[in-house]
């Protein structure tokens, strides 16, 4: 019925192609209309601020009316500033504390959960993801309380074991591992789920063939699974690297970057410029950080696919 209507409306000329020739406008304009809302926001809150920040990074603007063009001074200042390097160093240490352990734990757990005979795998999969959906600010507060030197539950538990109190959040030695643990706790479930989906994309026949060839489970894991997971691992490393270097909420809430800037991550250091209205330097810092992050991401991808 409706088909007939459409045909008659077209003046009886029959084929669908003719129709699109006759009324080409909607179909040609539609995609632009559909994309327009995104584009509008992208230009207003993406392109424009980017260009603005680039210009800002060459000035000494502090938010008043007295901005002066100072060329590369902000960049030079940052590259000579020990705090800038310390913020990168702190993030690098956090990375080392989190990512290797996460990859190892994630792989072992994902392999176990991939086994259809694993009892309670459905439950484990859900339970392990709970930290990932927990608001980071709420957990950061729990960390403050649990890792308190004098009244925290962690030191209380250590006391039961006869171990001395540790200043988890108040000493430069322990503050980084404590922040790293929060990030580790929060994101390992994500790593496991991604690894699990990576494992499930490996054809089962490969394992059967390997088993027929007499490869044991350990050998299968080392010689087949790990190489086949290279892309998945690469993805995880890139995501976690971006996350760790931009890490903000955890140190902001738990330690405010202290003690003695030992937990001031690259992301939090950026915020410190905003706090003192040193906006030109902050903008320059953003761009330096982006260059570093992009370089690290590209290097990770290259490392996994050297022949590209």
């Amino acid at each position: 019925m409706s088909l007939t209507q459409a045909v008659t409306r077209r003046g009886g000329s029959g084929t669908p192609r003719l129709r699109s020739l006759r009324r080409p406008q909607p179909r040609r304009i539609a995609p632009y209309v559909f994309v327009a809302p995104f584009l509008l926001l992208f230009v207003a809150f993406g392109v424009y601020p980017m260009l603005f920040a680039l210009r800002l990074s060459f000035t000494n603007w502090h938010g008043g009316a007295d901005a002066q063009w100072i060329g590369l001074d902000n960049y030079v200042y940052l590259l000579q500033n020990p705090l800038f390097w310390q913020s990168l160093g702190n993030s690098a240490v956090l990375w080392l504390l989190v990512v290797p352990a996460q990859l190892a734990l994630g792989l072992v757990t994902a392999v176990a959960l991939d086994n259809a005979k694993m009892r309670g795998r459905g439950f484990f999969r859900v339970a392990l993801l709970i930290p990932y959906v927990t608001p980071v600010v709420a957990m950061a507060q729990v960390w403050i309380i649990a890792f308190d030197r004098d009244y925290g539950v962690v030191n209380a538990a250590l006391g039961v074991l006869g171990l001395p109190d540790i200043g988890w959040l108040t000493t430069t030695t322990w503050a980084k591992p404590t922040i790293a643990l929060l990030f580790f706790w929060k994101t390992t479930g994500f790593v496991i789920i991604i690894m699990l989906s990576g494992l499930q994309s490996i054809p089962h026949e490969l394992y059967e063939a390997a088993a027929l060839d007499g490869a044991g489970r350990t050998r299968q894991l080392v010689q087949m699974t790990v190489p086949l997971m290279a892309r998945t691992v690469m993805f995880i490393v890139v995501v976690q690297t971006l996350g760790i270097f931009q890490m903000f909420a955890e140190p902001f809430v738990v330690t405010e970057g202290g003690p003695y800037s030992s937990t001031t991550t690259a992301g939090l250091y950026l915020y410190k410029h905003i706090q003192v209205s040193d906006l030109g330097t902050g903008a320059a810092n953003s761009f330096l950080l982006v260059v570093i992050l992009v370089a690290m991401s590209v290097a990770t991808v290259r490392l996994v696919r050297p022949r590209d």
Binding site: R27, F34, N115, M139, F248
Partner: protein, 306 residues
């Protein structure tokens, strides 16, 4: 011994408890050691949440004096009562709800629409525009924070819903994901609708949307989680208590403890903090447990990002 366990092949015969069913292990069931390892990890992951929620029901003094013990007979809701009195948590919930509905709504409507354009139309500039989407995906948020904040100041949008909602409202990742999803919708379906006289938007609304509903459900939960937990932007664009989202309200509470502004006694503040944290976690945890399948789909789809 082809079926040696992954972790400690030699430990198995000595340590395996007798009550365990000794399967023929032809199908390579995981060893009890693997199982115990995963179970231990799971317990370790759940303990912080459980400890926090349970402790919130303890008398405030005991949180400090006996952090390890739980006495159900003394369970109390006084921490919650005090917290609701002292902390503007309902304001936080209210603001988060408004941002969630409007910002989430914008993404849920416009991201599939743009994804549809990229998946099913050929038009000049398409590749360039899609490149813009991908660029947004790869751009670390940190570059934008300072200039965006300045832009908000110029527009007078600091401490407004405009400032909270509009930047990043139509999530680039959502567009990318929806493009992948919609590309799988058969063209014949769309052509048939077009022949039936369906308009371009009508095709999207009446054909595409119903077909991709499972993907939309995944997108909805992922968007909800991201907006609910978002902290970096809200904390930067809101300074007035009236406009703060739930996470920002929570974070300034924590600052009261680590900073010098402790007015109440230690134990009371901790009790309120734990109560506030528990209240903030619960809605999302319930949503997660109810909709976990969609959550996992959403998170997995997120992994296409790379």
């Amino acid at each position: 011994m082809a079926n040696d366990t992954l972790l400690a092949p030699t430990a198995r015969p000595a340590l395996a408890p007798r009550r365990r069913r000794r399967t023929t292990s032809v199908d390579r069931a995981p060893s009890w050691l693997t199982w115990a390892f995963v179970a231990a990890l799971t317990v370790a992951f759940l303990v912080p949440v459980l400890w926090a929620v349970l402790s919130a029901f303890k008398p405030a003094g005991q949180i400090v004096s006996q952090p390890l013990s739980f006495d159900l007979s003394q369970a109390t809701t006084e921490n919650f009562a005090k917290m609701f009195r002292d902390v503007p948590i309902w304001t936080g919930f209210g603001n988060t709800a408004i941002v969630l509905v409007v910002k989430g709504g914008l993404t849920m409507f416009f991201a599939p629409l743009a994804g549809y354009a990229f998946a099913k139309y050929e038009f000049p500039g398409k590749n360039f525009l899609f490149g813009a989407v991908l660029a947004t995906l790869m751009l670390p948020i940190v570059v934008l924070i300072i200039p965006l904040l300045l832009e908000m100041k110029i527009l007078g949008w600091v401490n407004t819903y405009w400032g909270l909602i509009l930047p990043g409202a139509i999530d680039a990742f959502a567009i990318f994901w929806m493009r992948q999803t919609i590309a799988a919708v058969p063209d014949e379906l769309l052509d048939a609708a077009r022949i039936d006289g369906c308009g371009e938007f009508g095709i999207f609304w009446r054909i595409v949307v119903p077909v991709i509903r499972p993907g939309l459900a995944g997108l909805a939960v992922l968007t909800t989680m991201n907006i609910y937990n978002d902290f970096v932007w809200p904390v930067i664009v809101t300074s007035s208590e009236r406009m703060q989202t739930l996470q920002v309200v929570l974070s300034s509470l924590a600052a009261n403890i680590t900073g010098q502004t402790i007015t109440a006694d230690f134990a009371t503040v901790w009790g309120e903090l734990l109560a506030a944290s528990a209240v903030a976690m619960v809605p999302l945890l319930i949503a997660f447990l109810v909709l976990q399948k969609h959550f996992v789909n959403g998170i997995l789809a997120g992994s296409v990002k790379g």
